[in-house]
């Protein structure tokens, strides 16, 4: 069946098409032109949104950077000079604990053949003074310094006295210990270094394989308030 379009129908379709197109055209001028003020209004919010989103992104990036920094930081950069290369360490024993300390911080070791002279009024970890050759050494109870006063002071020094002393490089301090074990070479990459040493600053790292604590004597010995 063939339908022929009447002129009225055609006019109506044309009107409809015009109306549709004009609607489309009406919408376009608001979005496209750049020079007219109303169009700026419609663009600006978009730009503003972008601006607003930037701070949201930036803190995240900053956080990421801040988070990554410690991981990227070379632990050796905050360590003493001796830790930068392979170093010799002396392994010694206090109670049942094996410890290590860089040889460079020591002048010598001695066996205790007499009691240090106890000075009244000093803390219990200060065992006293010992004249050794040309120097007067302040002998320290390494157990108390490392294990803390509570655990360290439980040791009965009369019944179980320390047997050896590690004397510091400046010959001012001696660390009493039970046994001197050996001297070994340590490579920096075999040590887990403690980069943050706010607590227990004397514990500078751990030998990864043997799980032996490395003691930084410079941080363990007290700083004399007098006669310094």
């Amino acid at each position: 069946m063939r339908h022929s379009k009447s002129p009225q129908q055609i006019v109506q379709q044309k009107l409809a098409l015009d109306a549709y197109l004009s609607t489309l055209l009406d919408e376009v001028p608001e979005a496209v032109p750049a020079d007219e003020a109303p169009q700026k209004k419609s663009v600006e919010p978009v730009v503003q949104r972008v601006v607003v989103t930037q701070p949201l992104v930036q803190p995240l990036q900053n956080e990421l950077v801040a988070f990554e920094k410690p991981a990227k930081l070379n632990p050796l950069s905050v360590m003493p000079d001796w830790a930068q290369h392979e170093f010799q360490a002396l392994f010694f024993k206090v109670d049942h604990l094996i410890l290590a300390t860089p040889l460079i911080d020591l002048s010598r070791t001695i066996k205790i053949d007499r009691k240090p002279g106890k000075i009244p009024g000093q803390p219990s970890w200060f065992l006293g003074l010992l004249d050794e050759h040309d120097s007067r050494i302040g002998v320290l109870d390494t157990g108390q310094l490392i294990f803390g006063k509570l655990r360290g002071s439980q040791r009965d020094l009369e019944a179980k006295p320390f047997k050896c002393i590690l004397i510091t490089q400046d010959k001012r301090w001696g660390l009493a210990c039970d046994e001197i074990l050996s001297i070994g070479k340590l490579k920096p990459d075999k040590v887990r270094w403690r980069t943050c040493r706010q607590k227990k600053p004397w514990l500078i790292g751990t030998v990864i394989e043997e799980l032996t604590a490395i003691i930084d004597l410079q941080e363990l010995v007290p700083h004399r308030k007098r006669n310094s």
């Binding site: 002279g117 106890k118 000075i119 009244p120 009024g121 000093q122 003074l129 004399r224 308030k225 006669n227």
Partner: protein, 157 residues
């Protein structure tokens, strides 16, 4: 030694006494006499470092437990124990010691300052240290042996 050096580095005499394994020295000029142990009358309510009082020719003298003062364990007095009567700035007191050894001479330059690793107050009466016969000699400043508060407290006995 020249006269100038003698003046700048004078010789001092020290009475030495023992407490436990340690030897101490006090300025001989402040030692009045050394007594064998006599009866020491306890004083009720006295601080732990005060052993009690003695009658010294009509004068009441407070005797200090030096072992307690120096943080040493207590020990029963024996034949070697002595009460050293000393003169501090304002007081005459007795200090009980394990034994009195000798009088030694030394130059001021021989005295080293003792290290102080504790608080200043706890060992301020330690004037210094030196060596005698390969042994440490700890020199005590008797004027700082008791604090001002403690000296005031002694007046009440």
């Amino acid at each position: 030694m020249s006269d100038d050096k003698k003046q700048s580095d004078p010789i001092m005499q020290w009475v030495t006494f023992c407490l436990g394994d340690e030897k101490y020295g006090i300025n001989v000029m402040q030692v009045q006499e050394v007594l064998r142990i006599t009866e020491i009358a306890p004083v009720p309510g006295a601080p732990s470092y005060v052993l009690g009082i003695i009658n010294l020719r009509g004068n009441v003298v407070t005797v200090i437990d030096t072992r307690n003062r120096f943080g040493l364990s207590s020990k029963e007095p024996d034949d070697a124990s002595r009460v050293v009567i000393i003169e501090t700035e304002r007081h005459i007191i007795g200090i009980l010691v394990d034994s009195v050894a000798e009088v030694v001479e030394m130059r001021v330059s021989e005295i080293e300052t003792a290290p102080n690793v504790g608080n200043e107050e706890s060992s301020k009466y330690i004037q210094g240290v030196t060596s005698r016969d390969n042994k440490l000699l700890i020199l005590v400043d008797l004027n700082k042996f008791l604090s001002e508060d403690e000296k005031a407290e002694l007046d009440m006995f």
